[in-house]
């Protein structure tokens, strides 16, 4: 086999101009396919990451004040579809006023949100604990402060027409990412939130402090939960509606996005399959034409006593070299184009997720498929070459 291989390489060297042209032609078709695939990967990966990494997409809130007991929360927390669940207080009582020490009179209203370890909204943020709280980014901007900072949280109640205020010295440990909560909000540990609620309910006086008093069979007005996967939101949405629990979710939007993901995938797969098939056919035809062009040389080799397998190996070896060079060239081109595309301003996500995502394994698959396709096409050409009659070599064309 070494002789036909060295002959095939010698022929390629002799016609390096043509061989280079063939490799460029190969790259010219392959590179756009790689870029197209990179775009599909980038767009869909970005879409998915956006939805999966933004916990708000998996958020489910109940919308009416109800009475859920501890057993309800225990049961829901145990469900595999639910990643995290935390109780909420009544919507009207979940309000506080924030004051910066040293600037009395300037207060800012904020929604009070109970939280617990594992809250997806506060991933990567220091966990509120005791008197330690976390600011929503809108609240931090409104207050003009940056954590850590000491603040006072003022809870107001009206008792017999008198206004009473509980002042809680809290320490803002951190600021939540903007995506966590869009309005002015304060994340509190659950005991602190319940302390505020108990004060508003008239159960404790303004001077009481943590720990909050223990209640037998405490009831909670609502919940805030996060589904484990996007698809679970759709399931949970249907489940709560069946149980007559009014909720707000992004289920419709998610169902749409999941459909879009699937359709985009199908679209890109179709384009890539058509392009890829056309590419392999053109590669095969050019190799076939090459054998026709070299028929006389091949016949001479046959006449000189080269075996049929040796003749067949001739175009296969040339195809492998051409396809290999073409793949390398295509990979270089595609990476350059991807780099350029990723420099373009395609919206805020561009810095986080590349629009065109080309991984080494994509390039390996592209090169592998090209080599396999080219060598398969060349094998047919090679079988044709093997059938070249030695007599064709005797007569000069």
């Amino acid at each position: 086999m070494r002789l036909p291989l060295s002959l095939a390489l010698a022929d390629l060297r002799h016609e390096r101009g043509l061989a280079l042209t063939a490799a460029i032609a190969c790259a010219a078709v392959l590179a756009p396919l790689i870029v197209l695939f990179g775009l599909k990967e980038g767009v869909i990966a970005g879409l998915r990451a956006d939805l999966i990494q933004n916990p708000r997409a998996r958020e489910i809130l109940n919308t009416q004040n109800r009475a859920f007991d501890a057993a309800f929360f225990a049961a829901e927390a145990a469900r595999p579809e639910i990643a995290f669940i935390v109780p909420r207080t009544r919507t009207l009582s979940g309000i506080g006023n924030i004051e910066i020490p040293g600037r009395p009179g300037e207060t800012q209203r904020a929604e009070l949100l109970g939280t617990a370890p594992g809250d997806p909204l506060l991933r990567g943020v220091q966990q509120p604990d005791g008197m330690g709280v976390v600011l929503s980014s809108a609240l931090a901007v409104r207050l003009g402060v940056s954590a850590p900072v000491d603040l006072s949280l003022r809870i107001v109640r009206i008792v017999d027409g008198r206004r009473e205020t509980m002042v809680l010295p809290v320490r803002a440990l951190a600021t939540a990412p903007p995506a966590a909560f869009g309005r002015e909000g304060l994340f509190l540990s659950l005991p602190l939130l319940l302390l505020a609620e108990d004060f508003q309910d008239g159960l404790i006086g303004p001077d009481d402090t943590l720990p909050a008093i223990a209640h037998e069979a405490r009831q909670y007005a609502g919940f805030r939960l996060y589904a484990r996967r996007l698809e679970d939101v759709v399931t949970l949405d249907a489940d709560y509606r069946r149980r007559n629990i009014e909720i707000s979710t992004r289920a419709e939007e998610i169902a749409g996005l999941i459909g879009l993901d699937r359709n985009l995938g199908l679209l890109f797969t179709t384009i890539a399959a058509l392009g890829g098939a056309g590419y392999l056919v053109s590669l095969g035809l050019s190799l076939w034409a090459n054998v026709a062009r070299k028929r006389r040389d091949l016949a001479l080799l046959r006449l000189s006593g080269l075996s049929a397998a040796g003749l067949a190996a001739f175009p296969v070896a040339q195809a492998a070299v051409t396809a290999g060079a073409g793949s390398l060239l295509a990979a270089a081109l595609a990476l350059a184009v991807a780099w350029f595309v990723n420099q373009l301003p395609f919206g805020a996500r561009a810095e986080e997720y590349p629009v065109c995502l080309i991984l080494p394994e994509h390039l390996a698959v592209a090169a592998g498929a090209t080599l396999a396709g080219a060598m398969l096409a060349a094998l047919f050409a090679g079988l044709r070459a093997a059938a070249v009659q030695p007599a064709e070599g005797i007569r000069d064309a």
């Binding site: 002789l3 006593g305 030695p390 005797i394």
Partner: protein, 236 residues
Amino acid sequence: MLPALEITDTAKRRGTGTSGEFALLIPHFAVAPGEAIAITGPSGSGKSTLLDMLALALKPDTAKRFSIAEVDAALLWQRDRADALARLRAGTLGYVLQQGGLLPFLSVRQNILLPQRLAGRIDPARLAALADRLGITDQLDKKPAALSVGQRQRAAIARALAHRPGIVLADEPTASVHPEMADTILALLVDTARESGAALVLATHDPTRAEAAGFTLLPLATGREDDTAISVLERQ
């Protein structure tokens, strides 16, 4: 001495073109090592058909015996052993074609080396000696396209003899060269083939020049029978 080539009761019929059918009959044909035979006859008399068969490139319709270097190719044809025929070609036959038939993508040296590699008989000294004898030592590292027609035919002779074949076939090797050059090339072909003890078979339409170069002439006997043109080759 055993003949390098011996054929008995072999026939090949061809086509039904405008000129009707054609048949080449070989009752007996033998060539001894070192002999130089020129097959002559007008064009269409079957010289090419004969050479194709001798080159094991064309299967005869019938062949009682078709012995090339003491291997009976008739049996290989019967069993359709294409690669065995290719090996027999590689080991025992050398060719000089009309235009030289050198591979354009190999240097002259690689072209001459090719039959040695195919026969598994690498012999650089033989290559150097032939190149020297044929006056192409300076051309060895050029591609065939860089050579003159005469130099190319000399290189083709070197290639035909490089692997010390028992039989050398030449098909109008001087058809495209200058007449004076043709005499030189034919003489070189006869001399080098004789020096290496090969049986040489030439197909030519120019008996005078072949005889002058030292070939023994063997004309194809031509005749007609109904619509069939018949050529007969006979030599004891």
